[in-house]
């Protein structure tokens, strides 16, 4: 579905992402992990069109999407959430989702009231319907994350990019959010590429994990294998902790 081949992006002299290639198959949940500054979010920004890669290609369902503007990429079926929630602060929760409903795919003839109806469905799905008239700036972190999820779902994505959805949530909330994402995947049938720092969650959720360090891919495989890999333990905790066989 998504094929990334030797993508490179440099900021000045710093190679944020260099020669990374992996692919995501339809229906999979792929985790993208790595220490801070490893280039995970940059890679996500490259996929959804905020940055243009310096070299390499990103193909989504056979279409080259590197260098397309974000709105075109969104129409093709890639949607994302933000690490730091970025709601439309002065707009109500419902209005925020409404924007996605109206623009996520071509809906030339959809009336505003139909769009509101559909938006409220997504809001209901993530459990925020009672907060529909609350301004986004008055929501708490969990609600903001759920609003982001609703906004992303409302664009009817085929590939959902989650950027640290669990960061800052307490264990109970994280559990609920994970449940929500699984439900959503079951119902709306999309593929997930998931950046996460909370290992407990990502190891549970992902079928395959890609590990980045200093912008390079250092490992890829199912979570059980990755957990024992000394290279990854070295990347996260330093060489002292890695038990070499």
């Amino acid at each position: 579905m998504l094929e990334i081949t030797s993508v490179t992006k440099t900021f000045g002299g710093l190679a944020a992402v260099s020669e990374v290639s992996f692919s995501v198959k339809k229906g999979e949940v792929v985790g993208l992990i790595g220490p801070n500054g490893a280039g995970k979010t940059t890679l996500l920004n490259l996929i959804c069109g905020i940055y243009k890669p310096d070299a390499g290609s990103i193909r989504f369902e056979g279409t080259e999407i590197a260098g397309l503007p974000p709105n075109r990429i969104c129409r093709l079926g890639i949607s994302r959430t933000y690490q730091i929630p970025q709601p439309f602060e002065a707009m109500t929760a419902l209005n925020g989702v409404l924007v996605s409903v109206l623009n996520g795919k071509k809906r030339r003839r959809m009336s505003l009231s139909d769009a509101v109806f559909e938006a409220s469905y997504y809001l209901e799905f993530v459990g925020l319907f009672s907060k529909r008239d609350t301004l986004a700036r008055n929501l708490n972190l969990y609600e903001l994350r759920m609003l982001e999820l609703a906004r992303a779902l409302a664009t009817t994505p085929k590939l959902l990019l989650l950027d640290e959805t669990m960061a800052g949530l307490n264990p109970a909330e994280a559990e609920r959010a994970l449940e929500m994402i699984w439900n959503a995947q079951e119902q709306f049938d999309f593929t997930i590429l998931w950046i996460e720092h909370v290992m407990k969650i990502i190891m549970k959720a992902a079928q395959r994990v890609v590990v980045l360090q200093y912008g390079k891919k250092i490992a890829e495989g199912p979570p059980e294998e990755i957990q024992g890999d000394p290279k990854i333990i070295e990347a996260y905790l330093g060489a002292r902790y890695a038990q070499h066989p």
Partner: protein
Amino acid sequence: MVKLELRRDRIVARWGDWKSEWVIEPRYWRNPTIAITALFLLPLLVQSYPHILTMITTANLYAAIAIPLALQILGTARVNFGPQLYLGIGGYTAALLNLHWGWSPSLTFLAVIVVCGVIALLISPTTWIAKGLYFSLITLILPLTFLDVTFIWGDIFRGEVGLVGMSPLLNFTKVSWNYLAYYYLSLILMLLYLLVSDRIVRSRLGVNLAAINENEDVARMMGVNVDRYKVVCYVFPSILTGIVGWFIVHTFRTFAGVTYLPLEFMTKVLIIVIVGGRAFLYGAIPGAYLISIVEDSLRAVGPSNYFLFPLVLILLIVFLPRGEGLWGLYRKRRPRDYFPKLHVRRE
């Protein structure tokens, strides 16, 4: 035919599928209806004072400039500091074509739409390139440049004295009728702009514009074609402003760049938007009336009005509720509605 039906509390008019209701008891009238009725009756009270009629006509025209400006600020997410550029372009186009080639007002109207549209379209890529303050600076410079042009090519534009003697829109035998007619024409123009802008803000397009005003990049990520909307939101209000210029040419029958292009005029328009409230469309009308009343009453004071007027404006900005303005004083908050903020972004 239109069928009228008297219910217990209201009159219902039907015409095919179309239906309109009028509640009889005045306390249930909707306030816009009252305000519009008041604006239509106002000149009949002050009929015998031509200078007051001129003042409120000017107020209508200020509002007709401020309303498209508010729409533009909303849709481009940038503050345009030079809406009067298109006032100048529209005015000079109409005046020159009318004077030299003898085009009638209806022809110059079309010419103004075309010329303003083309020039706005050429300048519109600045909304993609320049962000925040830079956009404001560029738009600030443009009208001043145009003002210089009117001085440099003084034989065409007559920068110092202005162009005079354009053909009028209406010409009654009694002068006082002319004043009255021009008030009503300006009022209709202003209300038309309000209606159009209001329809835009409440439509699907309005939701997208609000998203752009809030956060351009996120909106783009959600599939909003930001670049296209920005161009539309730059060009369309510019044309509307140009039409005001055309109106001024054919009613006051004199047009000088010195009156409309300098910074003072821009300050007035921007302050109308701010005093009216949050760049909100309706706020422009009370704002415009307040500003022109203040301006007119201070004129009697003498030369000291040159610093008294700005002083009053500063006091208005400081003491009106921050960001809400006159409209915010009147209007109860309804969280369902979107209130655009007027903010100059750094990037």
